[in-house]
Symmetry: C2
Subunit: 455 residues, 2 copies
Amino acid sequence: MNAPRARVVVIGCGFGGLEAVRTLSRAPVEITLVDRTNHHLFQPLLYQVATAGLSAPAVSAPIRHVLRREMRRGNLTILQAAATDVDVERREVLLAATGDGHGSIDRIGYDHLIVAAGSANSHFGHADWAVHAPGLKTLADALDIRARVIGAFEAAERCADDAAGAAWLTFAIIGGGPTGVEMAGTLTEIARHTLRGEFRRCDPSRARVVLIEGAERILGTFVPTLSQRALEQLERLGVDVRTGCRVTAIDQGGVDYEKRAGDAITRHRLDARTVIWAAGVAGVPLGRALAHATGASIDRSGRLAVEPDLSLPGHPEIAVVGDLAAAFTHGPDGPKPVPGVSPSAKQMGRCAAANLLRRVRGEPTQAFRYVDYGSLATVGRKAAIVDLTVPLIGAVRFAGLAAWLFWLFAHIYFLIGFRNRLMVMTDWAWAYLTYERSARVVAVPDSAEPAMPGS
Amino acid sequence: MNAPRARVVVIGCGFGGLEAVRTLSRAPVEITLVDRTNHHLFQPLLYQVATAGLSAPAVSAPIRHVLRREMRRGNLTILQAAATDVDVERREVLLAATGDGHGSIDRIGYDHLIVAAGSANSHFGHADWAVHAPGLKTLADALDIRARVIGAFEAAERCADDAAGAAWLTFAIIGGGPTGVEMAGTLTEIARHTLRGEFRRCDPSRARVVLIEGAERILGTFVPTLSQRALEQLERLGVDVRTGCRVTAIDQGGVDYEKRAGDAITRHRLDARTVIWAAGVAGVPLGRALAHATGASIDRSGRLAVEPDLSLPGHPEIAVVGDLAAAFTHGPDGPKPVPGVSPSAKQMGRCAAANLLRRVRGEPTQAFRYVDYGSLATVGRKAAIVDLTVPLIGAVRFAGLAAWLFWLFAHIYFLIGFRNRLMVMTDWAWAYLTYERSARVVAVPDSAEPAMPGS
């Protein structure tokens, strides 16, 4: 009577993968979770690590610790490994070699596969831009940006040349979505408040933060009135917002961009030694490998087209969830694209896991239906915008202090782990009262020279 | 009447440099502080960062923030730069180039120089050992060791070969001084308590922590009775302590060592994929450059011989303090060597600054006199040893829970910054109650493969 349990592999422990594992762990299946890092990352607060407001452990938690209760049920194995490809014929996930050669597992067989591998930074095909303009996707990215930002003020202090010093005090942020807006607002606060009185040769309050956006308005996924409110809040903080500007080149010394006004195009150069990329995301390489293996189509952002039930066409045993899926929600008004935010990843993770269990039981799968609770973005101290979708009432929109408080508590509420919530609340209360930022330290690797930004 | 103020350069913002700057900042001198990092590091707690108990920002503080009050006095400039050499003829400190070529300051003139550049790891002349057995001196070192320790358990879980898995679960610590003892005690706690129930394929509680010491007893700077108490405490925690063992080779797979018993030498091999170096320190390269430039003699540990007033022979304008100085204390019983601990570095920093001001005023300098308040070392949860020197009473020695509580509060008291004290207290209380370690996350740089220990 003991039929072998179905083997499920989940790739990635972001919001989607974590929800999938939680849903599956109570079912009679054998789960293997594979992630290339040892932690679940609360990505909505990653910009705070990059801007030295929070330490890395405050916004992340060891996967094994997050899933310790599920582990006790005895059907979950967690492996830290990078999944590189899927052998759809033999139904095996291939893992990157460790370079160790001592018997590391390098493939895992599956009956069902959930791919929740997320997205990576995309520099619109300009790989060389990535060196000068890091994006913000991983803890390593955040610590890299933190080192560059702190290092830029240090370099300005050490600089004996006025123009070069000004370029060190200019910060260009490419992309006016939520991440770019958060970064821009926080950087002005650091320059004007946190570092006040701490430098002697340069004046951090003269720092310029320039936010460059290709579209005609920032935060384009929000309604225009909220975009406008966010713009006003940003400008009040001192951010130089430039919309309708297309970046044409990025190098060590700054950014070239062109602005269109009707038919006229004007070209500009911004000397900035620190450039941060917040403009585009792409699918991870595993997405391309999977498209190649299954024949699934892939969109311009590197996302895989999925069936209504989130499976890949012709491969009901493989589901794709989260940022890697070009999914549609199937509501009464017909299909609508699902935004790449954490609530949608969670819902997709739960849906894919539920469909998987339906298949195990021999039942038909169901189409994914996204429940949109609204969206919110923070601009800086006491500044944010909120656009809620409240059942029966409809849209509730507000900005300013109330929106900021709402943003604050929503983010603390959704943080993984009681300990992280305490840490972040303490750090934020402290930062609010003192303007200090608690994580302003940069680990310098052992070598003859200090790590300099841009190097 | 306005004679130009004396220009003082202080190299290094550890315990010695920080005290020197604080002493000097109230005096009519112009100070430049140079450090290769942006933070003051509380090195006594660095092992807690390496063992994932504390985040990097909890044991360090931005130098500019620590010295913000001194900055307000208007005579202090802080530069993040690596001092590489001293031109004693022109009285200039040379700074490593930034590779920037945009007008960075690369030399600083001085009338008086205080060198507090600290020590580096020494692998007894075996540079190749450093790759496999990192030491613990900087935040980057600590994060490297953390990644290896956490990665070793992950590799064991992924390992399909029993012998290879056992080597991943074996941790060798070379050197039974305070750092080695702290690391060994904490690693057993992680293996036996923190990770319990979080793995499925391997059993972390089977991990072996082996402490290898060359001398016949651990903690050789303490009296033998306290060494013995510490040994008993370590063995109760489950540490395998091997004294009288000399390491002869370290490679990716483990450690070769030989044990002497009388005239007999037996050779041993320990298969351990994680090796941590806690055995030897050397002077930083700047020490050798300074010896070359001034003709000062340098001892086996790379420390510079100094005059009783901490100046270099023939160069009264240059003082050396802290770990880089082979200093003697000049008390009523004649000269005695000064130990390389944080209280001695602080006292040397104050003494060198006071002597510098005496020279500015045209007064004679005074010999350094070390006040020894005793020493303490922790072994693990509720286990430590304390050897206090109490005026009028003499030596007060105790071990166990009382010693551990004393160690705890002493370390919190001496932490730099109220905020760090709060963070560490909270983290320790949490860890004590739950056995959790708050910083168990490893940032993996963006690449196709996860960072594996040893690679």
